[in-house]
């Protein structure tokens, strides 16, 4: 499994750690080790595609393409406009969309030529993205005046056009499509601790239910079925279908993942030194921990 370590803002400390849980070993900074150069500034997200990983390096305005087998660099895709790329999602035709927090556009990347081939005007800065069939659900996180957005844009991938928008919670961050639902985590408003998970009807966009997280900013991992593991005021297991929640642990974390069997959480400590990731059972008991890079902020599990 891989851990994306964001590193400090403007410090060029982004790294990728490979964890081999069976042996308890951590291979630090696999990118620089293999390629002899640093990854960049803020490793934001990772998308697997074929035999490659696409690593979005937010503040370096680029996507590093590496081989899955040995992390050898295959290509570097520059994202224009100082857009601040955030997340990728594959669409049909060997392409992918790239969200961008500081641009009103969604960028389109050809995954074969590894070039930016176009853009879709969304009208605000975007964060999370999920694709289902020929529709991309895009979180409109940041308005042009830097206020928090509260919409989801639906983009027809075949035509690269916005077909509609849904209203969701304040500050939508992560979007996932699960069965009949589109699930959106929203950070809420700073100081109000009103982050939430908003569950939409996938067909109509109607809000089916809201799950309060009682904190600012949030992220979640998908479990089996409609089960979610979310970071709220602790680690929370929620059911998107019923809205039922259980607090598994009061431990706070920066990122969360689920490998199909166990929960992983990231503790960045003070955000300025090597952070820790913990492996937890599905009931929230800590099983072991691994020291990784600075600000661990994302997980990728083999088989994803």
């Amino acid at each position: 499994m891989l851990v994306l370590n964001q590193g400090g803002f403007n410090k060029g400390e982004a790294t990728v750690s490979e964890i081999r849980p069976e042996s308890g070993t951590v291979i630090a900074d696999v990118f620089e080790t293999k390629n002899g150069r640093p990854l960049g500034d803020i490793a934001q997200s990772l998308m697997p595609y074929g035999d490659r990983y696409y690593i979005v390096v937010n503040n370096s305005q680029k996507i590093e393409v590496v081989a899955k087998s040995d992390y050898r660099s295959v290509a570097t895709i520059a994202i224009p406009d100082n857009a601040g790329p955030r997340y990728m999602a594959q669409i049909a035709g060997g392409s992918a969309y790239v969200t961008a927090l500081f641009s009103d556009r969604l960028y389109k990347v050809n995954l074969r030529s590894n070039t930016v081939t176009g853009a879709v005007t969304i009208g605000s800065g975007t964060e999370g993205i999920a694709v289902s069939n020929d529709t991309a659900f895009v979180a409109k996180n940041l308005n042009a005046d830097f206020s928090a957005g509260n919409q989801i844009a639906l983009v027809r991938t075949s035509t690269d056009q916005v077909i509609t928008t849904w209203t969701t919670g304040t500050g939508p961050v992560q979007v996932e499509v699960v069965g009949p639902y589109v699930i959106v985590s929203c950070s809420g408003t700073w100081g109000r601790n009103d982050g939430e998970i908003v569950v939409h009807n996938r067909t109509t966009g109607a809000i089916v239910r809201r799950i309060a997280l009682h904190t600012y900013a949030s992220t979640f991992a998908l479990g089996a079925g409609t089960t979610l593991y979310a970071l709220g005021n602790g680690i929370i297991r929620a059911d998107a279908a019923t809205g039922a929640t259980t607090t598994l642990s009061t431990k706070t974390a920066y990122a969360i993942g689920f490998d199909g069997d166990r929960i992983w959480i990231a503790d960045p400590l003070n955000y300025a030194q090597a952070g820790l990731v913990y492996r937890l059972s599905v009931v929230g008991a800590v099983q072991d921990s691994f020291r990784v890079g600075i600000i661990p902020g994302g997980f990728h599990f083999d088989g994803e």
């Binding site: 904190t215 400590l269 030194q273």
Partner: protein
């Protein structure tokens, strides 16, 4: 060279030539030395600039002090700190008055060109009661009191460096007027290795240009019973903010405007004297980037009245600081200070108490003794939180307490076989140090959680124009700041354990050759020891000539900086220039 700078330079040259007809025939030796004051009970370095430094900032001179210098680009945001302390714990003074920015707590050294300051005193052992509040890590005191009647400087160098300056002084009886003006600019588009590209490419730094115009004035009137000194310093600078090479910034700019005035009157009262001083500051900082327009204004006014004899000094001071920032509005800060110093024989002692409108009373004190070749000094020193620490929206922490430090220094100085050996050693402990550290939401907030302990030695050897020095600094975190903190017991980030250097001047007739080597040891960029910057050797070589034609003295020099073209940086991902040339011409009438 644009029209303004050309006219300025021509004016300076003309003034120099006309003044030469009436100047005295006393000539000064070239100011190419770093000496150590033998004053007081502390080790103090008195740093003088080389002619080749004239158009640089004072950071270029402080680089020879062995302190921890941090520079984002030549002439852009440069700070210095010593003995394991931080830049915000190091107070920069101007003729004794604090310059540190009230909002951010530190002084950007690049705002102060060498040419307008005649010398600087670095006092690493001194503290609050020796100088000023918040001088926990010592002080750099800029002095502009030399007696040159006229001096001009001009320089041209790589990546668009240009500097022009003129100082003129007029003495009439017991009165003196000195004025100075200095202009400097640089494109700073030097080449660097971009290690983030495949293959590694040589690129040019962008958005690092700067232009700065500075002026100073000093009026002195000396009578039988009254002496007055009036100082003024003003500067305006516009610079790009280039960002790290891992994430270059293409649009960010900053404009700084500073106006400082300082007047002091000293009058005799029988065998004693009294003083009355007024100090005013206006400082604007305007930062612009995409979606960001951050403007701050700081205004400060201080009045100090004192009384003293040969062995005793007492003063009381009231200062008030107003900060207006686009991000927050803060209440005025009013500070009352009372201090007493006494010196009897070989012993000196100071005690100080301050009353801050936010914190109430706190105190500091120091004492020292001098016995033969030995000097010893101990102090308790304090620093108060900055406006940003207290009032930054949402993140500021109004519960912060002043940070404090205990410091001790022992120095032995002696002459051995024609060499001057200076051996300072020191120890210090900081408690309740303020550090911005993230909470569970990832947002940085200031807290009183930094505990550090430092020991070190700074041996120096000097003989004529030869100097060798080494600085050993063992500065460690002594307490975990949060659960899981890996920094406990480790060296503080960006503090090298070893620095050092050597310089020597060889003279032949009117020519001189001045090689200089500086070493900065390995240092981590995070407190848990990650991402170290490798050791660096920096070599400068100056070839110059000094021509004296009474009363005129002309110094022309060519300096190759970073002669070995080493990869240099003081902050990770902020590269400094490779090998480059700068040519300087100075004309001076003492």
């Amino acid at each position: 060279m644009n029209h303004r700078t050309l006219i300025f330079w021509l004016f300076g040259c003309a003034a120099a030539l006309s003044a030469s007809a009436q100047a005295s025939d006393t000539l000064r030796l070239p100011e190419i030395r770093v000496t150590d004051a033998t004053l007081a009970t502390r080790h103090m370095q008195s740093l003088s600039a080389k002619p080749a430094d004239a158009d640089a900032s004072i950071a270029a001179v402080l680089a020879r002090s062995g302190g921890a210098l941090r520079r984002y680009a030549p002439g852009i945001l440069e700070t210095a700190a010593f003995r394991g302390f931080t830049a915000s714990q190091t107070q920069v003074l101007w003729n004794g008055f604090p310059l540190n920015h009230a909002m951010v707590g530190l002084t950007d050294l690049s705002l102060y060109p060498v040419f307008l300051f005649d010398r600087m005193m670095v006092d690493q052992a001194g503290g609050s009661s020796d100088h000023a509040l918040s001088a926990i890590g010592g002080t750099v005191d800029l002095r502009s009191d030399a007696d040159a009647r006229l001096a001009t400087t001009a320089s041209l160098g790589a990546f668009g460096q240009q500097g022009l300056g003129m100082k003129a002084g007029l003495d009439h009886g017991a009165n003196r007027i000195r004025i100075g003006i200095h202009h400097q600019q640089s494109d700073n588009d030097y080449r660097y290795r971009d290690v983030f590209t495949v293959p590694v490419a040589m690129r040019r730094r962008t958005n690092a240009s700067r232009e700065q115009l500075s002026a100073m004035a000093h009026i002195r009137r000396v009578g039988d019973h009254l002496r007055q000194d009036h100082h003024l310093y003003a500067t305006q600078r516009r610079s790009g903010i280039p960002g790290p090479i891992s994430a270059p910034s293409s649009k960010a700019t900053q404009t700084d405007r500073i106006l400082r005035v300082h007047s002091r009157a000293a009058f005799r009262i029988g065998p004693a004297w009294g003083t009355l001083a007024v100090n005013g500051t206006s400082q604007d900082l305007d930062y612009l980037d995409t979606g960001v327009n951050s403007l701050s204004t700081v205004r400060a006014l201080g009045v100090r009245g004192g009384f003293g004899t040969r062995d005793l000094r007492l003063f009381i001071e009231r200062s008030q600081t107003w900060v207006d920032f686009s991000e927050y509005t803060a209440p005025d800060r009013v500070m009352w200070t009372a201090q007493g110093d006494i010196r009897r024989g070989r012993v000196s002692a100071s005690a100080r108490t301050d009353h801050d409108s936010a914190y109430g009373w706190f105190w500091s004190a120091s004492t020292g003794v001098r016995l033969g070749d030995w000097k010893a000094h101990v102090s308790r020193t304090v620093g108060i939180p900055t406006f940003n620490d207290l009032y930054w929206p949402v993140l500021g922490n109004p519960d912060l307490q002043p940070e404090s430090a205990l410091k001790a220094e022992l120095t032995w100085e002696s002459d051995i076989a024609g060499w001057r050996l200076i051996l300072p050693s020191h120890a210090s402990q900081v408690d309740d140090g303020i550090q911005w550290i993230p909470g569970i939401d990832g947002r940085f907030r200031p807290r009183n959680i930094r505990q550090t302990r430092t020991i070190g030695m700074e041996p120096q050897l000097r003989r004529g124009e030869t100097r060798l020095y080494a600085v050993f600094t063992d500065a460690r975190h002594t307490a975990a700041r949060f659960p899981g903190d890996q920094s406990r017991g480790r060296q503080v980030a960006y503090i090298p354990k070893w620095t050092g250097g050597a310089e020597h001047t060889v003279r032949w007739k009117d020519l001189y050759l001045n090689p200089e080597v500086r070493y900065t040891g390995r240092r981590a960029t995070t407190d848990d020891g990650l991402f170290p910057i490798d050791p660096q050797w920096e070599v400068d070589m100056t070839l110059g000539t000094t021509i004296q034609h009474n009363p005129l003295r002309m110094d022309a020099s060519a300096t190759v900086r970073n002669l070995t073209d080493a990869d240099l940086s003081t902050i990770r991902w902020y590269p400094m220039p490779g090998r480059h040339l700068i040519v300087t011409l100075q004309i001076r009438i003492p």
